[in-house]
């Protein structure tokens, strides 16, 4: 520090000798404001009033001046580059202003709304060197996080001051303003943060405006792997990269082809939105033609890269050792890269990634993603409009957009889904096995599927179709299979507890069966005894009585030959042998009827011994036992005769769900019940997505940071707040909660790092992040105002 002291002393001596103007004596440079170069004027006209005055006379102008003075001479003069840059930013700001609706300009946020060209205008009205510093600011903001960028600036300023003092010490002739700048106090951190934030916000806006060029550049970045430079200390590395980039771009803009070996130029042209044609020579040679009108013809950038030995990430890397990152601690070595990937995505892209997460949670292989999307679309279509199922609509829309994408869109969609699959572990952490999600909510298996049908007729048709192929192929006998079902209106009673309100005519029996698959024990209850439930029942695990509401139907059509072991399951007079289906139902009347092509017979339960998973038909001296094969024991299931070998194995898959959904066989209420009873995180995940969707559907042009996928969404504070502790009666409290929740959610997703609790945000009326201001509609801006009223306000 003694060098700075001596410098100051020398300066004090110098001022006595040199005749200086009043302006030079005043080291606070805010008095001096230059006319901005011609190319930058359109930007000045477009800036909001407050921003413009801040840029011309406010703190950021001071920062721009000081930085410009400090870094004077670091870069050579580059008239063409600055001119081209000015034209480019004016072009971008004009395009952006035109796309923003006019209504906002008449609101209270008008002084803050619009593109953030503050740092550009501040630099433009300061000096040429300040413009160079702004260009450097864009490069740093492009590749580093805010905290890292600020620490880089702090170190840069410090080191530059030391460097100048050292040179002055050694007797080098330096311009007066440079030495004066070096002697001043270091620029405070908040001002550097403001400088960086403005550059960052500008980059966001400019990226949106130049989307197509940016995506072409990203395609290029996917195939290169190149370092910015070899230095790791901040000052030498940054100065070298900066100088190299500025000089190279100046030559390119002038039309001279350039060849580079490091990545600083790539970083520069991505940050400055100037796009020369690029030719890459490496393991593959290719050229990227961007046809930028501001680059004179002939300005082609050639990059030579040697093939990297380490396969892995591609892009432009910058590795620095930051000493100022922490307030206390050793220097932190960081490596950041200019990725080929977007760091901000739209909400519909976010939903696609979330769908990828869902497929990973359900452990669906990548081949079946298409089926999974069809499933979601089908489910959403069935449940559309049903109360209690609104949470599915956003996901359904995303899935159908996936299904209808083609070509490049489909490729992008696939990438997003794959990205989501990989981040699933971070986004929704794993849970204990008992909460493990079942794929497709379990609707791929027969149990759940059959539960959700509209009525028993449809179930029977479905089961028959299912078995049709098997029985044809394997030549099964018609008597091998039977369906047991509970008619729709009796389903409420077809469950497990003993129904004490039995009437006497029931004579279903319960057979004692040791070997039921679920190991239950049945108590044997004899016929015709009034002590239907004997006192022994208390010692058993459970008494399950199969009610007489069970009915039976044939699976396949066929002839029944009397006598042989393919006799009909239940005794049947010969005249009914025929090619149609039969049913045995419980009815009081003793007649047989035909209904819908099927013969209905009365079920005589004397011949029947039934338990939950099997039943036995006793006929004369023969017993035929049927065991459960597939289906849902509470509604409809197929039973196979024990003596039929080998056991058939119908396969149920989600395709069955899809075909039944298309045929409209499902009941909405039971589907909703089934899905809501899912106790894995998937259901909660859907609801969280629906909450976020309800907010983002009003702001379609908002962008989300992609690093949100590295944070567990269900552990965020806003999500914890959505579980109602006690629903409030007071309407105002509810409205306020919704507002604070919405603001917390946008802050969470826009920044990618913040996690605020809605409870802490009761007083907040707006949130600003990056280049966006989020305002609740109650305080919102409306465009309904008529033109004449607009004129009155401007008085």
């Amino acid at each position: 520090m003694s060098t700075i002291g001596r410098l100051q002393a020398a300066l004090a001596a110098a001022t006595n000798e040199v005749i200086v103007t009043a302006a030079n004596l005043n080291f606070d440079f805010t008095l001096i404001k230059c006319e901005a170069p011609l190319e930058y004027q359109p930007l000045g006209n477009m800036l909001a009033a407050k921003k413009k005055s801040n840029a011309e006379t406010g703190s950021i102008h001071v920062t721009a001046r000081r930085l410009g003075a400090l870094f004077e001479g670091a870069c050579p003069t580059t008239p063409n580059l600055l001119k081209a840059y000015g034209d480019r930013i004016s072009e971008i700001s004009t395009a952006t202003s035109q796309s923003q609706p006019l209504q906002y300009s008449e609101s209270i946020f008008s002084t803050y709304a619009g593109i953030d060209g503050t740092s550009i205008w501040a630099a433009a009205t300061s000096s040429k060197a300040a413009l160079h510093v702004h260009l450097l600011g864009c490069m740093i903001a492009r590749i580093f996080d805010p905290a890292e960028a600020v620490s880089i600036w702090v170190e840069l300023v410090k080191e530059r001051q030391k460097d100048i003092a050292y040179r002055f010490e050694n007797g080098e002739q330096l311009p007066f303003s440079l030495t004066a700048a070096a002697a001043q106090n270091p620029i405070p951190k908040p001002e550097l943060a403001e400088w960086d934030a403005s550059a960052r916000a500008w980059l966001r806006t400019a990226d949106e405006a130049k989307k197509s060029e940016y995506s072409q550049l990203r395609a290029l970045l996917r195939s290169v792997k190149i370092k910015v430079n070899e230095e790791t200390d901040v000052f030498p590395s940054v100065m070298k990269a900066w100088k190299s980039a500025v000089v190279t771009m100046e030559n390119l803009v002038s039309g001279q082809p350039q060849a580079v070996r490091d990545g600083s130029t790539l970083l520069a042209l991505s940050s400055w939105h100037l796009y020369p044609n690029i030719a890459v020579f490496g393991s593959q040679n290719f050229e990227v033609v961007l046809n930028d009108s501001l680059i004179s013809p002939g300005g082609t950038l050639s990059i030579g890269i040697s093939p990297s030995k380490i396969a892995g990430e591609t892009g432009v890397f910058w590795c620095l050792s930051l000493a100022q990152l922490r307030h206390y601690g050793k220097p932190v070595r960081i490596e950041r890269s200019l990725q080929a990937d977007p760091s901000r995505i739209s909400f519909s892209q976010f939903l696609l990634c979330a769908l990828g997460v869902l497929t990973a949670l359900w452990e669906i292989p990548s081949n079946d993603i298409h089926t999974a999307m069809k499933f979601l679309v089908a489910l959403a279509t069935i449940l559309e409009g049903a109360s209690g199922a609104k949470w599915l609509s956003a996901v359904g829309r995303a899935a159908s957009s996936y299904l209808s994408a083609e070509g490049e869109e489909l490729e992008m969609a696939n990438k997003l889904v794959q990205y989501g699959r990989r981040r699933a572990r971070d986004f929704v952490p794993e849970v204990e096995p008992k909460f493990k999600p079942k794929a497709y909510f379990g609707l791929g298996g027969s149990n759940a599927l059959l539960k959700c049908f509209k009525d028993d007729e449809k179930r029977i048709v479905f089961l028959r179709n299912k078995m049709f192929e098997i029985s044809q192929k394997e030549g099964r006998r018609p008597t091998d299979f039977l369906i047991r079902f509970y008619p729709s209106q009796a389903q409420g009673s077809a469950n497990h507890h003993p129904t004490k309100s039995r009437s006497e005519e029931e004579d279903g029996t319960v057979s004692h069966d040791d070997s039921t698959p679920d190991g239950r024990h049945w108590q044997e209850v004899s016929l015709d005894k009034t002590d239907f439930y004997s006192s022994d029942s208390d010692t058993e695990d459970e008494v399950e009585v199969i009610g007489d509401t069970a009915c039976y139907a044939t699976v396949t059509q066929g002839l029944f030959d009397p006598g042989s072991h393919s006799a009909p399951p239940f005794p049947l007079p010969q005249k009914w042998y025929g090619a149609s289906h039969h049913r045995w139902i419980c009815s009081d009347e003793d007649h047989e009827s035909e209904c819908g092509g099927e013969f209905h017979h009365r079920l005589f339960s004397q011949n029947l011994k039934a338990s939950r998973t099997s039943f036995t038909i006793i006929e004369r001296l023969r017993e035929n036992r049927y065991d459960w094969l597939c289906g849902d024991l509470d509604t409809a299931a197929i039973f196979q005769r024990r003596s039929a070998r080998p056991p058939a194995s119908p396969e149920f898959s989600i395709e069955d769900f899809l075909s039944c959904a298309e045929a409209g066989l499902f009941s909405v209420a039971s589907l909703i019940d089934h899905v809501s009873s899912d106790n894995s995180p998937v259901f909660v995940f859907f609801k969280a997505l629906a909450t976020v969707a309800s907010i983002y559907k009003h702001i379609p042009d908002a962008r989300l940071a992609i690093q949100n996928f590295q944070r567990p969404i269900l552990q965020s504070k806003w999500h914890a707040a959505t579980f109602p502790v006690a629903p409030s009666r007071h309407k105002m409290v509810r409205r306020m909660f919704k507002r604070t929740l919405a603001l917390a959610i946008v802050a969470y997703f826009d920044s990618g790092t913040a996690d605020l609790a809605p409870g802490d945000m009761e007083n907040v009326m707006a949130v600003s992040s990056g280049d966006s201001i989020y305002v609740p509609s109650q305080v919102r801006l409306t465009g309904i105002v008529a033109k004449s009223q607009l004129m009155m306000f401007s008085l």
Binding site: G114, I115, K738, D755, D771, Q778
Partner: protein, 215 residues
């Protein structure tokens, strides 16, 4: 800003391209006790005594709203930030001020004011054939200046800012703020096509004495 009559869904946000010049995520909070213009209470002769005659007039056409910041800009303790680094979330105190012809009138906390208990919307009345633009009820004052809002009469009165959503929003907020500490007051925001005949005829006797209508 939207007309206070419109009931917008609280979850609905609007995104504006722009920022406040501060780095990171910035939350705007209103000041604790917004200030209002001091009045000269000695004036008697300039008190308003005009009655409301039902005409659709806008007396607040010169009103404008402005946003500014105080120096209260503090970082929020952010648990996600790694140790030793600066927080990226900060809170800034922001003031919305109401100006009339360029002169400052009051600072308002709009959200708090609009969501007060005693601010309500006039329930939609059935369409009728009464002539509009006429109100013959006695005892209803007509308010046309900001001084009258800051020092309002203890009666029924109508604030005339017809068709001017900004004026209606500003007057509602300021009035709500003025009346915040008083008991038994009411502010009713009316539709632009209100039929005063129906309103007065259905006027209940248990309504508060100080009842303001924003028309």
């Amino acid at each position: 800003m939207s007309d206070p009559l419109e009931r917008l869904k609280p979850r609905q946000l609007k995104r504006i391209l722009g920022n406040f010049g501060k780095p990171g995520v910035v939350l705007l909070i209103p000041p604790q006790e917004p200030m209002m213009r001091e009045l000269d209470y000695r004036k008697i002769m300039s008190l308003t005594t005009a009655r409301f005659d039902g005409k659709q007039i806008d007396s607040f056409g010169r009103t404008s709203l402005h946003l500014s910041f105080t120096d209260h800009h503090v970082p929020v303790y952010d648990t996600n930030v790694k140790v030793g680094q600066d927080s990226q979330v900060s809170v800034i105190e922001s003031v919305i001020s109401v100006h009339d012809s360029g002169e400052w009138v009051a600072d308002v906390d709009i959200l708090d004011a609009i969501n007060s208990d005693f601010v309500s919307r006039l329930p939609a009345l059935e369409p009728c054939n009464h002539p509009k633009d006429i109100s013959t009820e006695q005892g209803v004052f007509s308010i046309d200046t900001w001084d009258d809002i800051l020092d309002c009469p203890s009666d029924r009165f109508v604030v005339r800012a017809h068709g001017n959503w900004l004026g209606r929003l500003a007057t509602t907020s300021v009035l709500s703020q003025v009346l915040k500490l008083r008991d038994n007051v009411k502010i009713t925001v009316c539709q632009p096509d209100t039929c005063w005949h129906c309103v007065w005829s259905q006027y209940k006797l248990d309504e508060p004495l100080l009842h303001s209508f924003i028309y």
